[in-house]
Amino acid sequence: MDADVLVRDYLGRLEAASWPLPADRRRELASEVSEHIEAALSEAGRRDEVTVRNVLERLGPPEEIVAAEDGTTREAPTSEAQPPNAVQAASPWGAIEIGALLLLTVGAVLLPVVGPLIGLVFVWISTQWTSRQKAIATIIVVALLMLPVLLVFAASAGTTI
């Protein structure tokens, strides 16, 4: 995917997520985040897809930036706007994320196959992982779950010959 498309997509998500903020603060936030991305990219000296993804990943999900911004706006409406890199986002470990990891690990032992699948649903609900990371986790689970099926097929084919 083109690097500029990734940035545009990220800023679009930020705009969509920032609807609870006042209009002028929304524009300010979009401009600050955009400037921050440009600064990080020129500092990196590259604009390839991996670099852009890394920069966006470091920024965190747009929803989280808006949530942190919304909190600071409510707590201190007269305070100066914070640059995006100064936004102190909450810990990425929420109930959904912990639940997802427990279902993938303990759930896999207590509820084989079903546990990890419910865990994957939690992973996809969470906003803390990017779509790419969610897809990688899904591929890992599906690929490793398919392995025993292939083994059983191989074993049954071996006995019937």
Partner: protein, 33 residues
């Protein structure tokens, strides 16, 4: 033998994915500090 492998591999699928996702979140929270 096959049953033993199944018992090992089925939980392994979730555990490997969970380790990957935990590393992602840990790295992100460390980057923000």
């Amino acid at each position: 033998m096959t049953a033993g492998l199944l018992i090992l591999i089925i939980p392994l699928a979730g555990i490997v994915a969970a380790i990957y996702l935990a590393i992602v979140l840990t790295r992100r929270s460390r980057d923000r500090q």
